[in-house]
């Protein structure tokens, strides 16, 4: 039996000052090495769920564990397990890719040599070698997304949380990012991925969790979901399940 990478039980969460729950009664088990997509309309709670899984937010009720370790208890232990690729360009744009990777690598606890090796490898794989010493502020959106991704995975985490990693990028950049993510997944990394791009789900994800109004309304393998509901596309399936909620796809 495979290990459970992420286990969420009876999770409820609401932001301070809010009356209703942003997320309610969430149960989710993600196996090690799986590639899971969290899909849903704007405001459904995808990013909130990701922030709860990474300990950025503290859950009001319920339990979240990463490889059996409770999130929010021992941050040094749990935070080494995952890498986060946020939706925003969460790095220092005045610095070059190499400088960003050196800093974040050190903060992930890597040695100087490890940082050097991983930096060269990532810059090569993501096609950033030529611009390694240039300030990121001058980069295109696609290149910035690649830097954002490289920082999140420099320490070769067991789980990678990706919050819309391909939003606003051109086809080539999107293709290279997806290709690299698939490679990481094949090498054993667990991917937890949010996006509005349902077609991407078919490319990357084994399973998808559809979130609507703070609840997981479906969590299955894509093929099973489609055959169960007799739909041919994820888009139609989602519209059906979300009962014609406003979906931005």
């Amino acid at each position: 039996m495979s290990n459970i990478a992420v286990n969420i039980e009876k999770l409820n969460f609401k932001y301070q000052g809010q009356v209703s729950d942003t997320l309610s009664d969430i149960h989710l088990k993600i196996e090690e090495g799986a590639s899971i997509g969290l899909f849903g309309p704007n405001g459904a709670g995808k990013t909130t769920l990701l922030h709860l899984m990474t300990g950025i937010l503290k859950n009001n009720q319920g339990n979240i564990t990463l490889f059996g370790k409770k999130v929010g208890t021992n941050y040094k232990e749990t935070n080494s397990l995952f890498g986060l690729v946020p939706q925003d360009f969460s790095f220092y744009q005045e610095l070059s890719p190499i400088e960003n990777l050196q800093f974040f690598g050190a903060f992930y606890g890597l040695s100087k040599q490890q940082i050097y090796n991983r930096t060269n490898e990532l810059l090569e794989v993501l096609g950033l070698t030529e611009v390694r010493n240039k300030s990121v502020i001058k980069f295109s959106g696609g290149m910035k997304r690649k830097v954002n991704l490289a920082i999140g995975i420099i320490h070769q985490p067991k789980i990678i949380f990706l919050d819309e990693p391909t939003v606003g990028v051109d086809i080539q950049s999107r293709y290279s990012i997806i290709k690299y993510l698939k490679k990481l997944n094949n090498e054993g990394a667990t991917l937890v991925y949010t996006s509005h791009q349902l077609n991407e789900a078919e490319e990357i994800c084994d399973k998808i969790a559809l979130i609507n109004d703070g609840k997981i309304i479906a969590y299955e393998k894509i093929s099973q979901l489609l055959s169960q509901h007799q739909e041919t596309s994820l888009e139609n399936l989602f519209l059906k399940l979300a009962k014609n909620s406003l979906v931005h796809v």
Partner: protein, 427 residues
Amino acid sequence: MYKLWACLIKDFKLITRDRVGLSLMFLMPILLVIVITALQAGTFKIVNENKVPLLIYNDDNASISILLENTLEKIGIFKIIETTKNFDNTNIAAKMKETEALVAIVIPKNFSTQVQHKVANFTKNTLHEFGLNTDSINQSNDTLFNILTLYYHPVLQESYRKNLLNAIRSAVQVVESKQIISSIYTSINESEMPDSILNNFATQQLSISEIPVSRDGSQVIPNASQHNVPAWTIFAMFFIITSLGSSIVKEKISGSSIRLKTLPTNFLITLFSKQVTYLFVAMCQVVVIFAIGVFFFPSIGLPRLNIPSDIVGLIIVSLLSGWCAVSYALVVGVFAQTQEQANGFGAISVVLLAAFGGILVPSFAMPESFSFFLKISPMYWSLESFYGLFLEGGKFSDIINNIIPLLGITLFLQLLALIGLKKNNLI
């Protein structure tokens, strides 16, 4: 340790690439300290070396008014530009403008007669009191109120104008006294008083020696540099807010802070690194501005900055002032939601703290109602500490009473920053 080192490298790189922030932290205060010191030294020169242009309309032109003119000139602070006989108060403004006179005095037609009349009455009454004169005393109440009129340029500040007025009053008093003595002498001796006595009267004034009070017993007269360089260095250190405040907000907005929170490293390392980096910048500001005071000021004709003898005390005060400035910037950065908020509030609040703290206006000149604000401004305690070393020649032990409140405010700001970070879910 490697994490802290990496963070320090990152923060130093970020600072060196923030050209606007660097110019605000270095160029602006350097310009300020040069300009303000030059202006103050210039004002000192105007008051003490350059003479104030004075236009005299002498409609009297008799002996006493001429004596007054001479006395005004002898006082040494006025430069008599022109003596005009035909007074017309409609053209006085134009005449002042034309001659660039800041002050004009109108001596009316009957000035000498009035003074003589007053002196004669005074002499008669005095001699009568002494029993030297049996003539009946004159009870008429002659006064010379407002017989002289002073016109002044509106640019003259009240305190300066009052200084000039006092100088003119003392000249009038000298003239009156001379006339009274002469009159009494003539009445008693029935002959004119010799000029030598009158001259003696004028020259044998009581002298007043001015000695600045210092703790080390030195009698070095403080100059504009001793006052301004420490004051504007403190201001420069607090202006770090424009770079540090917005840098913290930028990290929050970009999501870097959130990402840092997901790393297996304590967020406080980043906070510590930022403080060390900016404290280093503050110390660079101190070194650069003090070096300008010591080496550059004399070459442009400004008084040289004399570094206090207690170097260790100076280093401690500089470090603590810098840390306080960094802590203040940290608090503003943590609580501000946007870079505009951090920059706008930061800059305005620093100017206000400078005003309350005695940087812009001397603390002794502040109204009593401002004493509370004075005491809560960290710049006040910092400035008092620096002045204790620079102006009073004190040692560190002499300024400990100013250091303790400064340290207290700094620790309070650190606590506020931590509360803010906790509130923002960053620690």
